[in-house]
Amino acid sequence: MFTARNKGRLAMTAAAVGASLALAGCASGDPLAPEPDTDAPAETIVIGSQAYYSNEIIAELDAQALEEGGFTVERNFQIGQRDAYVPALEAGEVDLFPEYTGNLLQFWNPDTTATQADEVFAELQEVVPEGLQVLDQSSATDQDSYNVTAEFAEANGLESIGDLAGVDGLILGGFPELEERPYGPSGLLDVYGVTVGFQATGDTTVESLLEGIVNVANVYSADPRIGSNGLVTLADPEGLFLASNVVPVASADLPQEAIDIINEVSAALTPEGLVALNVQSTVDQLGFTEIATQWLTDNGFLG
């Protein structure tokens, strides 16, 4: 299943990016604010991805579409958390990165009050640092959402987050950082008057919800397990969560031709389509290369 274009990508990209990053880091002396690297060859587009399987698939969609368009692509996938890769992006070592509007906006402007998709996207375009640009946002979203089991929803008559107010013994599960995020326990109390305890369930969040270790879980909205386990996603009328649509972040000097290709991919990716891609990864256990090739073929980008 591994195609020829992938041979050696790990070793090569890791070595190249590792070395260039080390150099950039040494030169500036501060890994969080490396200097922009303007010497990067324009013909090779370096694509990065988060250490999140779904994000990796989206990155591969862009990668294969660009390759079909005649560009040379270098994959530097799975480079950890936003705090780790955004500096690399700002430094110009990575040219293209699939991101999510809301979470990215919150990273650059923690005090933002925007919550609706268009609002968030507009503000994101304002705060994007020099040397970078955000391309068109996709209709596909993968945002934080609060979920409960169907039984729990029925027993307590839950439809929206506000309905949680008055339910006793609520325990919220999610990644450790959720405890401190504006939409975490403090946001729940301020916006909806809901009091919750917190457990850092991390990658075991959905399992913990199903086992009753927690009764409210923060799950990404494109997670197929919401559907497969019949979870109920609580509505968020007050906009506690920022809309988080898939949006590619790119260096400002990305060729227009490449931008056009990526925008077409983003336009073709729907919310349901993203969930379907995730199902192929987790249920069918296909590799991201295969998943991307199939999707691009089905949507007329390849062949």
Partner: protein, 245 residues
Amino acid sequence: MNLFVEAWLWLTDPLNWEGAGSIPVRVGEHLFYTVLAMTAAALIAIPLGWLIGHTGRGRELAVGISGAARALPTFGLLYLFVMLAGVTLRGPSTVLVLVLLAIPPILAGAYAGLEVIDRRTIDAARAVGMTEWQILWKVEVPLGLPLLLGGLRSATLQVVATATLAAFVNLGGLGYDIVQGIALRRYDQMLGAAILVIILALLLDAIFAILERYAVPRGVRAGRDTDVRTTPTGRRATAESSATT
């Protein structure tokens, strides 16, 4: 060194010392898993090590299995066990991983402690009419205690450092502050928690240092000052260094 100042401020901030998830709670969780894993590992490895050391059988097998166990990546094993056993059993899974980590050095310390005893001492014990149990309890175990404690000591250091991984499966401990710190880019918190782990390890290490001091039987200690063989023999040194993982 600004970072260390910030870590110090984090460590001394009274807000971090009270409530759920405060420093004392995290230290408690961390110690809980460490002590639990060490106790379980000791209960398995010490009798086994003594058996090997006393009978002289199964040493090669024990060395082989210990070596392979050392190669197990704790991080991957933790994920694997939690996936297989389910999230409700994540506590036992985590302890099991730490136990597997702790067994090789303890086992090595237990049998090496018996192996380095001068054979003539044991022959003498047998000659004066001691039973095998008496030889084990009255001669071999006391004389092997220093090396056993050495094994327990290095196992403890490893377990304390590795218990940070518990945070990945919602079990808290000082790793929680590190994992959360990574996501929130809070270097003061990460470094502060790391310093706490090191302090914890140092304290436990100091306890073992004191124990080792008093573990040497009085008669042996008196004789040792005049003993010319104070440098470890090749075999003993090997046992010690392989216990220092």
